[in-house]
C-alpha cells in the first residue's frame, strides 16, 4: 500500500533526479538525437514538482494533473509520451488515495499502453518502450510471486535498466535516432534511460 503522500514524495524525487541527470540525458541525446532530452525532462518534472504544495482529492487527480503538466511543459517526443503515461496511470486509480501493489500494476499497464498507443513503437525499436516493457513484466511477476509494491518496483527498475542497456546495440526505428540508420547503434536510447530513472525513483519512494 502506498499512500498519497508517497506519490507526492515520488514526484518530488523525480524532479530532483531529472535535474541531477539533465546533463547525462542530454549527452545521450546528443549522440543520436538533438541534445534536449535532459532539459526537456528537467523542465517538465520541475513543473510537476510545483504542483506538490497543492491539494488533490485523491492520488489519481494528482497523477492526472502531473501528466497534463508534462504534456503542457515538455514538448518534443517525450512530452506527449510521459504525459500520456501519467494521465493513463491515473485512470485505474480513480477515487483511490492508497494504492495496493495489484492496483499499481493495473495502472502501470494502462500507462504503458498509453505510451504504446501514442508512439506506436514496437519492441526493439530502440525507444523508451524497450525499458517499459520488461519493467512491466518484472513488476507483474514480482507481485504474482507475492512481492509488495516497493520490491516489485525495485524489480521493475532493474528490468528497465537491463532494457535500457539492451538498446545500446540496436538500430533505431522510431524517433529522431532512426534518421541515423546504422549510426544509431552503439548508443543507449535517452528515453529508455529516463524511464529507468523514473522507475528507480518510484522504487525509492513508493512503499
Amino acid at each position: 500500500m502506498a499512500t498519497q503522500d508517497r506519490f507526492v514524495e515520488w514526484l518530488g524525487d523525480l524532479a530532483q533526479t531529472m535535474a541531477e541527470s539533465q546533463e547525462h540525458l542530454t549527452e545521450l541525446d546528443s549522440a543520436i538525437g538533438d541534445a534536449d532530452h535532459g532539459s526537456n525532462m528537467a523542465r517538465g518534472t520541475a513543473a510537476v514538482a510545483e504542483l506538490l504544495d497543492g491539494e488533490f482529492p485523491d492520488t489519481a487527480s494528482l497523477l492526472k494533473k502531473a501528466g497534463m503538466t508534462l504534456v503542457s511543459t515538455v514538448g518534443g517526443a517525450s512530452g506527449p509520451l510521459y504525459g500520456t503515461f501519467f494521465i493513463r496511470l491515473a485512470g485505474p486509480l480513480a477515487g483511490k488515495s492508497d494504492v495496493s501493489a495489484a492496483e499499481l500494476g493495473a495502472a502501470l499497464r494502462a500507462g504503458v499502453d498509453g505510451v504504446l498507443q501514442r508512439g506506436k513503437a514496437e519492441p526493439g525499436d530502440k525507444t523508451m518502450y524497450d525499458a517499459w516493457a520488461p519493467a512491466l513484466a518484472a513488476y507483474d511477476e514480482a507481485v504474482t510471486g507475492g512481492s509488495d509494491l516497493g520490491p516489485a518496483l525495485g524489480a521493475a527498475a532493474k528490468a528497465a535498466a537491463e532494457g535500457r542497456d539492451a538498446t545500446g546495440p540496436l538500430v533505431a526505428r522510431k524517433g529522431r535516432a532512426s534518421y541515423l540508420g546504422e549510426r544509431s547503434a552503439g548508443h543507449i536510447d535517452p528515453g529508455a534511460a529516463s524511464t529507468t530513472l523514473l522507475l528507480e525513483s518510484a522504487a525509492r519512494t513508493l512503499r
Binding site: A35, D36, S39, R176, S178, Y179
Partner: protein, 334 residues
C-alpha cells in the same frame, strides 16, 4: 559556449519579446503561450494557417507570420516541439470561420503534440482542423524502418504557397489538398560543416574534423546519415542533388522552384556560390528554374552548412509564389 543570451532558460521568451518589439505593426506576440500572431488575426472567412516547432530554426516559423503566409506560429524550446496547449490556443485564435490548417514537420514530437492539439481543438470548440505533415527529406531512406522522412526545406515553400492560397480565400479542403500536393512534389537534402550548440546543453551536439562534413542532416543539429570527406562546393552540390533528382517525381521539361538554404552559420556569399553550382547541374539536366530562393530560412542555430530543395512548379504554384507576402522573413509585393 558563447552566445548572445542571458539564461538559457529564457532564450525563447526573450527572443519573442524582441520580435514583438521589432515588428509592432505586423505581429502580436502572446508571451505566455509563446505564440506569434499575425496582427489582424483572425481574418474573417480566411482559412487560418498554424505552424510551429522547436525554436532555433529562425526565421522559420515565427518570421513567416503575416499577410500571405502563416496566421500563427507556436515556438517550442530550442529544438523541442511546442506543446498542445500552444497549438490549441493558436487554433482558436486564428479561426476566422473557415477552419484551420496545421502545418507540421514530420518529427515524432511535432506530430504527437499537434495530434493532441487537434483532438483538443475539436473537443473544445469544434474548429475544423486539417493537418499537413511535411516529409521532404530524401536523406532518410527506408522510411518503413524509421520515423519516416523529416520535414525540412519544403516547409518554407509550402507555407508561402499555401499562405497565398488561403489569402485568396480558397476553402479549407482545397488548401489542405494543395498542401499535400506541394509536399509530395518537393524534395530536400542537407549537409553540415559544423555542429551547433543547444543553449541548454552548453556544448556542440557533435564534433566534426576539419576535413569532414555530415551528409543528410536534419534541422535539429543532429548528426547526419553519413560522415564524408570534405569536398569542393561543386561536388557537394552534386551529392545533394543526386538523391533529390533520383526521387523527385517530375515530367520532362517541368520547371522547379530551386531553394538553397543556409543552416545559419554559412555566409550568404557561399550560399550564392552553391546556388551557382546547383544551377549549373540543373542546366545540364535540362531542368528549368522558374523561381528561386537563396538565404537562411530554415536553420539550425549557428550550424554551418546548407540544404537544397527542389519543388516542381506549375502555373498555379508560380502564381501563388508571386503573390504578395509580408512577413519579417519573406516579403514581396507588399
Amino acid at each position: 559556449m558563447k552566445k548572445l543570451i542571458n539564461d538559457p532558460k529564457d532564450v525563447v521568451v526573450e527572443a519573442l519579446r524582441g520580435m514583438a518589439g521589432a515588428h509592432p505593426d505586423h505581429l502580436r506576440v502572446d508571451l505566455d503561450n509563446k505564440v506569434i500572431y499575425r496582427k489582424d488575426a483572425p481574418v474573417k472567412g480566411k482559412v487560418g494557417l498554424v505552424s510551429g516547432g522547436g525554436s532555433g530554426h529562425e526565421p522559420m516559423h515565427g518570421g513567416f507570420v503575416g499577410l500571405g503566409m502563416l496566421d500563427a506560429a507556436c515556438a517550442g524550446e530550442v529544438f523541442t516541439s511546442p506543446v498542445p496547449d500552444q497549438m490549441e490556443a493558436a487554433t482558436q485564435a486564428v479561426d476566422g470561420g473557415a477552419g484551420v490548417l496545421h502545418i507540421v514537420k514530420n518529427y515524432t514530437g511535432d506530430v504527437m503534440n499537434f495530434e493532441m492539439a487537434a483532438e483538443m481543438a475539436d473537443a473544445d470548440s469544434g474548429v475544423e482542423v486539417r493537418t499537413v505533415v511535411t516529409n521532404d527529406d530524401v536523406a532518410v531512406k527506408d522510411s518503413l524502418y524509421t520515423a519516416g522522412r523529416r520535414g525540412v526545406g519544403v516547409t518554407v515553400l509550402l507555407e508561402k504557397l499555401v499562405g497565398a492560397a488561403a489569402e485568396e480565400g480558397r476553402p479549407l479542403a482545397q488548401v489542405a489538398d494543395l498542401a499535400t500536393r506541394i509536399n509530395e512534389s518537393g524534395r530536400s537534402m542537407g549537409l553540415a560543416l559544423t555542429s551547433c550548440t543547444v543553449p541548454a546543453a552548453g556544448k556542440p551536439t557533435f564534433e566534426l574534423g576539419d576535413d569532414e562534413f555530415e551528409l543528410g542532416i536534419g534541422i535539429h543539429g543532429e548528426p547526419g546519415r553519413e560522415r564524408k570527406a570534405m569536398a569542393p562546393a561543386r561536388e557537394l552540390a552534386e551529392q545533394l542533388l543526386e538523391p533529390i533528382l533520383d526521387d523527385l517525381p517530375r515530367s520532362s521539361g517541368q520547371p522547379v522552384i530551386a531553394f538553397v538554404n543556409g543552416m545559419g552559420g554559412t555566409p550568404l556569399l557561399e550560399l550564392y556560390l552553391m546556388f551557382n553550382e546547383v544551377s549549373t547541374i540543373l542546366e545540364k539536366a535540362n531542368i528549368p528554374i522558374s523561381r528561386s530562393l537563396v538565404g537562411n530560412y530554415i536553420t539550425s542555430l549557428e550550424m554551418a552548412g546548407c540544404s537544397v530543395t527542389l519543388q516542381t512548379a506549375d502555373d498555379d504554384l508560380i502564381h501563388l509564389w508571386d503573390a504578395p507576402v509580408n512577413t519579417p522573413g519573406l516579403r514581396w509585393g507588399a
